[in-house]
């Protein structure tokens, strides 16, 4: 047996003997990606637990299990983890690391040691973010938490006045932002410098395009929120005044600065997810992707226009009518490149030889859920309807359809797609499909009723509600239960796959991109045996079979 990257590694410094230290110090992009995945999904489950707590509390009007204040902390915890710890590092940190270098025929990212450092910066950020969870006191037999209660948005002036521990959360968000910036920086240089000879930008796989567009957002938008958080900290501790109305500071300015980053951030989450979709659809339709260039350029233009629409979060903040109109228009505009992608995917499937393996099921499911998420987004980009729907569960349902039903679903799709590549083994297809069905049903039960409740006026971030909303919350509760069962089952199936799945070949899906042309699976430490010369398009199929083939020295033999 040849050695894989599980057997040997390069380290940031020294040559540790113990396996544990080799993982801690590894600079191999594949190992780092796996470590991100483990940490991120651990926190994901913590956030899901917080969400379930809220769902239990919302089962009936009035107080059930937790205090109103604890509820505020629960949605803050949920939001902060889901956004800053889970979905912002997200797909780039995991699959950007693991497969992007493989897809462009590189041996690693451009700055492997920086990559290692970035991972540990991320861990530091996570620790600081959750440190205040352990800062609680027991009064009258009940636990009083000190975790921030501001929501993940930290709006001034409340975040400056609250007694809870926002400072650690702000510092953590800043550090996590730095990690995100460094990841983006590393990927940008990698994609510019390390593509295999012959691979120009329009021969790159579309996932790499997604990562590329994302990296620009990570790089240029994150500093804005970084400095905003620093200013908020300075405000809180030195009273510089700029977000404090009693000194003439304008809280709306905080909202501007916050969303200048946080809106592009949602494209930062979805663009790599779209990239995964663009890999899976041609591979399981056994057909060259339709409109390669339009998909690639739409990623770029979504990233570009995505910088310019942040104001749709401020429609009810007293922003000028002029600015509102500009922002509303620009927001509609982003839907165009997104729509183009959808048509391209569907056109790819048309007359293709569709194979309904698990990754494809996830991709198809997402086409439905993300369409709902995306189109409901357009409805709240209209100034008029947004006045009614802002800060209601309609908006919450919208972004859960987009984030959970879009990004996270495609993340799952990617996990099932690249699983055999990463581990050299295969999970049980039957069980994985079952997990998909449970999750898909549970998800829609969980979030669809919330569109209606929100439309009827159920406000977000509320611990209590009027009795007429109870029916929707109960539907939602049972949906959440089904969903969480599905989640646990899916991870069980995957872990079973890692432990005793059947060994696979390097290219089990008959896919075409370079990461499926490795000599062995799992891949060796330094990836391809030789760097190939790339003079072909990424998704060439002929009669349902991949066109490009390599021998063991990466010489083309077709």
């Amino acid at each position: 047996m040849s050695k894989s990257y599980f057997d040997e590694t390069h380290c940031a410094f020294g040559h540790p003997k113990s396996t544990f230290m080799q993982w801690m110090l590894t600079i191999d992009h594949k190992r780092i990606g796996i470590m991100y995945a483990v940490v991120m999904f651990t926190f994901f489950f913590v956030a899901v637990a917080a969400a379930l707590t809220m769902r239990f509390e919302l089962f009936a009007p009035g107080q059930q299990f937790i205090e109103a204040q604890t509820f505020n902390q629960a949605f803050t915890l949920h939001g902060v983890i889901m956004v800053f710890l889970f979905i912002i590092p997200g797909i780039p940190a995991v699959f950007g690391n693991i497969v992007m270098p493989l897809m462009i025929g590189a041996k690693d990212v451009s700055f492997p040691r920086l990559n290692w450092f970035t991972f540990w910066l991320y861990i530091l950020g996570c620790i600081i973010a959750l440190s205040s969870l352990f800062n609680f006191s027991i009064a009258d037999g009940s636990v009083v938490f000190n975790f921030a209660d501001t929501g993940w948005t930290f709006y001034a002036p409340y975040s400056l006045n609250t007694d809870t521990n926002v400072v650690t959360t702000l510092v953590a968000a800043f550090i996590l932002g730095m990690a995100s910036i460094l990841t983006g920086l590393n990927f940008l240089v990698t994609i510019h410098r390390l593509r295999a000879p012959g691979m120009d930008f329009f021969k790159m796989p579309l996932f790499v395009w997604g990562i590329y567009a994302t990296a620009w957002i990570q790089l240029l938008a994150t500093p804005v929120v970084g400095i905003t958080l620093v200013l908020a900290l300075l405000e809180k501790y030195f009273g510089i005044g700029i977000f404090d109305p009693s000194k003439g500071g304008d809280p709306v300015l905080f909202q501007h600065l916050f969303w200048i980053y946080s809106h592009p951030a949602v494209y930062l989450m979805i663009l790599p997810a779209f990239g995964i979709m663009s890999e899976i659809i041609p591979a399981f339709s056994r057909r060259e992707i339709f409109g390669y260039r339009t998909i690639a350029l739409s990623s770029a233009s979504i990233a570009g226009v995505g910088y310019l629409v942040w104001g749709h979060h401020l429609f009810t903040s007293g922003m000028s009518d002029m600015a509102k109109t500009i922002f509303s228009f620009l927001t509609f505009f982003v839907a165009i490149p997104t729509g183009i992608k959808f048509y391209d995917w569907i056109a790819t499937m048309y007359k293709g030889k569709i194979v309904l393996d698990t990754p494809m099921l996830w991709a198809l499911g997402t086409i439905i859920t993300f369409a709902i998420g995306g189109l409901s987004g357009v409805t709240i980009a209209m100034i008029g309807s947004d006045i009614h729907l802002q800060d209601t569960y309609y908006t919450i349902a919208h972004f859960h359809y987009a984030m959970l039903g879009g990004v996270v679903f495609l993340f799952f799709a990617g996990i099932h797609y690249w699983f055999p590549l990463v581990f050299g083994k295969m999970y049980s297809e039957v069980q994985a499909k079952l997990a998909f069905v449970i999750l898909f049903i549970g998800f829609n039960f969980l979030w669809f009723p919330m569109f209606i409740a929100g439309y009827l006026g159920m406000p977000r971030r509320y611990f209590d509600y009027l009795p007429e909303f109870q029916i929707y919350h109960q539907f939602s509760f049972w949906g959440a239960i089904i969903f969480v069962v599905g989640l646990v089952y899916m991870f069980y199936v995957l872990i079973q796959g890692i432990r005793n799945g059947k060994p696979t070949t390097p290219n089990p899906w008959n896919a075409t991109t370079l990461e499926w042309h490795l000599p062995t699976t799992p891949p060796p430490l330094e990836n391809h045996t030789k760097v190939p010369y790339v003079d072909f398009r990424p998704y060439e199929y002929h009669h349902g079979q991949p066109v490009v083939k390599f021998d063991e020295n990466m010489k083309r033999i077709d």
């Binding site: 240029l220 003439g248 910088y307 310019l308 007293g318 922003m319 000028s320 009518d321 600015a323």
Partner: protein
């Protein structure tokens, strides 16, 4: 190599001289000329200085890819500026808000 070194060194000093002259102008401008446009003039001089530093000290001259990335970033900041300034200009509750029109 050696002649190149001398030439580069000379250019460093020339740039220094240019920057010093511009700094001197910065100092005298508010009391000497275009005194009604001090802010604009100061920013203009700053921009010229920045341009010189970028081109000669930071060797941006001739860098195509890096040059474009810089332009992109500067453009973005400019856009953020523009929108936020439009917004504050037409702030909806400008007349009643104590932030935009303090009572003093």
């Amino acid at each position: 190599m050696v002649t190149n070194y001398k030439a580069e060194k000379a250019s460093y000093y020339k740039v220094l001289l240019g920057l010093l002259v511009l700094t001197a102008i910065t100092f005298v401008q508010p009391s000497m000329f275009l005194t009604h446009y001090t802010f604009g003039m100061q920013m203009l001089i700053g921009t010229v200085k920045a341009w010189i530093i970028l081109m000669y000290y930071m060797h941006l001259k001739g860098e195509v890819l890096i040059g474009w990335t810089v332009i992109f970033a500067v453009f973005l900041v400019a856009f953020f500026f523009a929108i936020v300034m439009i917004d504050v200009n037409y702030f909806q509750f400008a007349d009643v808000s104590h932030i935009t029109s303090p009572a003093q």
